[in-house]
């Protein structure tokens, strides 16, 4: 059935490309999950926030900074911006209906998108990433250094976050605030700041994802829009509540979509997105909580 010509080498290459795509989705999905867990908000501006910070990185590098010099500055800006957005835009509507908050994040996405067009203009830009695009031989399969770099950076980030949430006091406070605000306050956790911190960390994750993907796809204000959708799909796939699920969901989706697009002629490149959507829809009907969705165990 419509299968394209098949070689193992090419399959391995596609697999690698899928994992690279997946790593980006995973990063952004993780950002979505962290915000969702702490404030029960789906941040539709996550993509534009990431692109915006990537543009800042681009500007800094245009000023003559190297990528790794710009990197921490951008992360700091992203973190501050994320915290500020939570405090200024989300806090006042904390108890408003879901729709209100969804609309505000959509408004933020429009605003940031417009600002990018105003400040930097449209059109594609070459973004010089930290990794070379030359390929090296990994067990007989040519894989680009850039792809390996992206995956390694993503893994590092996930490990770092896991460590932060599991072993640090602030990380524990953030998890507590996400699951039980009242009890957290009683334990002395500054819940408001924990939520803002969640937005800050999410913005940092987005910034990293943006700076990683920009060298692959060219930088423009709409760079993250489709990627954000895949990230949503990945987050839903893994279960909106589960950071581990977001990562697994991202990789799984990246690989599935890449392979489907390459080997099922019918899907090609235009129907990847609808295919992803269909996948998610079917999954949600079978398992409403996602793959890693928590089955809440509680005894009273």
């Amino acid at each position: 059935m419509l299968l394209a010509a098949f070689t193992w080498t090419e399959f391995a290459q596609q697999l690698a490309a899928g994992i690279r795509e997946g790593a980006i989705y995973a990063g952004l999905a993780l950002a979505i999950v962290i915000i969702y867990r702490s404030t029960r908000v789906i941040n539709f501006a996550q993509g534009e926030m990431a692109t915006f910070t990537t543009f800042i990185a681009w500007s800094l590098m245009n000023q003559g900074l190297s990528f790794w010099a710009a990197f921490p500055i951008v992360l700091a800006i992203a973190f501050t911006g994320g915290v500020a957005i939570e405090r200024v835009l989300i806090r006042p509507v904390e108890n408003a209906p879901v729709l209100t908050i969804v609309i505000i994040t959509l408004g933020l996405a429009l605003l940031l998108n417009g600002l990018m067009s105003m400040i930097w203009g449209g059109g594609n830009r070459q973004f010089h990433g930290p990794f070379s695009t030359r390929t090296i031989d990994v067990g007989g399969v040519p894989v680009s250094v850039q792809d390996i770099g992206i995956v390694v950076v993503s893994i590092l980030l996930v490990v770092l976050l896991g460590f932060f949430f599991r072993f640090t006091k602030v990380g524990l406070g953030m998890r507590a605030a996400a699951v039980n605000r009242d009890s957290s306050r009683l334990a002395g956790v500054r819940v408001g700041w924990m939520l803002a911190l969640g937005w800050g960390i999410a913005a940092v994750l987005g910034a990293v994802a943006g700076m990683m993907i920009a060298p692959v796809v060219f930088l423009d204000p709409n760079m993250m829009q489709t990627i954000l959708l895949y990230a949503f799909a990945a987050a839903v796939l893994g279960g909106l509540d589960s950071p581990v699920g977001a990562v697994v969901g991202g990789i799984l989706l990246g690989v599935t979509i890449t392979l489907l697009g390459r080997y099922v002629g019918f899907i090609g490149s235009t129907l990847k997105l609808p295919a992803a959507l269909l996948l998610i829809l079917v999954l949600l009907l079978l398992r409403p909580g996602g793959l890693f969705g928590r089955v809440t165990v509680r005894r009273v």
């Binding site: 524990l172 507590a176 039980n180 165990v297 509680r298």
Partner: protein, 233 residues
């Protein structure tokens, strides 16, 4: 010297006023009980202290006015074990205990050892999700969490609710020992007036948001109307 003093405290849920000017004191190292029927405002009294309900009036803790912000009261040394115990069901037993000590640094391992010495069952379930514990174990965990904070004042809401008598004995035994070792004050709300008076030095009786009677446990036990309405003999 009194550790906590409430003067004319009022509290409301939206338009409904629940406390109409409650005044009470809790002394240093003293265990004080609040008794009353359902809806008398016992829980609300505790919530007014920890700032989890809208309130007005004078609240003095350790000689200073008490903040309205829950986080700040917790950091000032008030541990509140709320109705429903406030367990973090998704976190492990150990993480729950770590959260108890959130407001301070150091000594977490030693304090946890002390909690485990009181409640050995918690140590066995250290890495278990707290939501899977039995009711009694969750109450022990709640008390353990409060202990981890080394509070100056412990607010306990219905610790005996829904628990088997043997578990209740275990919990109150631990409470007495904790109080003795740390010199903390305790304000406990109880339906079970016999139990409360057995452990408390003094008690206040609330009716529809007002203190109607107060006195030492012996005085209250001797009061005939109290005996009829609350002690049931």
């Amino acid at each position: 010297m009194s550790r906590l003093e409430l003067r004319n405290v009022e509290a409301r849920y939206g338009p409904v006023k629940v406390l109409h000017g409650v005044s009470l004191t809790v002394g240093d190292g003293e265990l004080v009980a609040v008794l009353g029927a359902n809806g008398a405002g016992k829980t609300t009294t505790l919530r007014a202290i920890s700032g989890t309900v809208r309130r007005s009036g004078d609240l003095v803790f350790d000689g200073k006015a008490l903040s309205r912000r829950t986080e700040v009261t917790a950091r000032a040394g008030i541990a509140h074990v709320p109705e429903g115990r406030g367990t973090f069901s998704d976190l492990s037993v150990w993480e729950n205990l770590r959260l108890g000590a959130y407001t301070r640094r150091g000594g977490i391992k030693e304090d946890a050892q002390r909690v485990f010495s009181f409640f050995p069952r918690l140590e066995a379930r250290r890495n278990q999700q707290a939501g899977t514990l039995s009711g009694g174990e969750q109450q022990m965990l709640a008390l353990g969490r409060a202990m981890m904070a080394r509070p100056k004042l412990l607010l306990l809401d219905e610790p005996s609710l829904g628990l088997a008598p043997i578990v209740v004995t275990e919990i109150f035994g631990a409470l007495e020992r904790m109080k003795g070792e740390d010199g903390m004050s305790v304000l406990v709300v109880e339906q079970n007036a016999n139990l409360a008076l057995a452990h408390a030095a003094r008690a206040y009786v609330l009716e529809v948001g007002n203190v109607v009677v107060d006195g030492t446990s012996d005085e209250l036990r001797a009061n005939e109307s109290i005996r009829k309405s609350y002690l049931g003999y």
